[in-house]
Symmetry: C2
């Protein structure tokens, strides 16, 4: 076997560990927390199904690859609860540094330029919630937010209820969907409204 293939297999074996990284959200029914590998599969498959809701200029195949690797850094850096990072800049900054080191090591396992290409997908995803994000990254981030919303709505409020999240916080977290998957915004409004009525989100 070539060194190149050995390097690719080292990365493939590392991927297995993403199955052990737990998110704050739960699988349907709430029987256990969701892991980042199955979450990534859900998102990539959603990109196929919901492709028509992507904004103009989206490269769908790139969005799918982006969603496949967007959480790979969590193998070393673990999952950071979104609302904790939103509430505390120090938490957010520590996360950025942990993830950068993780990207160095993990994508660095791959031969060049493959490692750099996959890392670029992750970097592009990370800008998907900002004005400067590409349409592809904005669509990918929109699906990431949408899936968390669907898991929480389907699990009697899930992490929204556990963490006492307010309507305003939920809207702020879901905001990237407005640009990243505009046709899905009415779904966000309806879901947040229903969750508020049900007492899953706090007023404010």
């Amino acid at each position: 076997m070539t060194d190149r293939l050995e390097a690719q297999l080292a990365f493939v074996r590392e991927l297995d560990r993403l199955k052990l990284v737990l998110r704050r959200t739960s699988v349907g029914g709430g029987s256990r927390r969701e892991n980042s590998a199955e979450h990534s599969w859900h998102l990539a498959t959603m990109a196929v199904v919901l492709a028509e809701h992507a904004p103009p200029g989206t490269d769908l195949e790139r969005a799918i690859r982006m969603l496949l690797v967007h959480d790979v850094v969590e193998i070393d850096a673990d999952d950071t609860f979104a609302f904790a990072a939103l509430a505390d800049p120090a938490v957010a900054q520590a996360q950025v540094e942990r993830e950068r080191r993780a990207a160095d090591r993990l994508f660095g396992l791959l031969p060049d330029p493959q490692g750099a290409e996959l890392r670029a997908l992750w970097v592009e995803f990370e800008s998907g919630a900002t004005e400067g994000g590409t349409p592809t990254a904005r669509f990918a981030v929109a699906l990431d937010r949408l899936q968390a919303m669907l898991q929480n709505a389907g699990n009697a409020g899930g992490t929204w209820r556990e963490a006492g999240i307010t309507v305003a916080q939920a809207y702020r977290r879901m905001a990237p969907i407005r640009e990243g998957a505009p046709g899905l915004w009415p779904l966000v409004e309806r879901t947040i409204s229903d969750a508020t009525t049900a007492g899953f989100l706090r007023h404010g």
Copy 2:
């Protein structure tokens, strides 16, 4: 919201249940069995990383989509242990019928022609171990076999050892890799040889 979007969301919500379908293989370290959602993510990401090993004529983007949906029928039909189906034609036939009914219901949730398109990906995958399979399906099936091999080799023999699998049975199961990812065949030979030496596979 349109009926079309409601139908797509019904499918997206069903997908969540694939996270609860357990395979016979375990995650690295053997701490728990692997589920079909995280397995599908592993395969789709492997397709990105190992793309250069696909046979001529492979449509890589189609292979990725195929791997994302190839196990969706297990939401209704559950996972069937490969070696059980190999050993007993009645087990294999019952599986075929269960999966066809599952495909009717699950892909039928989607609007047309989207449901038919995703179902066609699954049908194409199912022929990937046969002479008539497309290069895309052969590559997808090769990765499916390869991943199970890596999980077993990485878990002290895993299901090979638990089920008393022989060298000949392992080679028969891995055979699709010879055509579906020819550059990876030396890896199969080395892994089976090492597993035999280690006592993870029975002689015969």
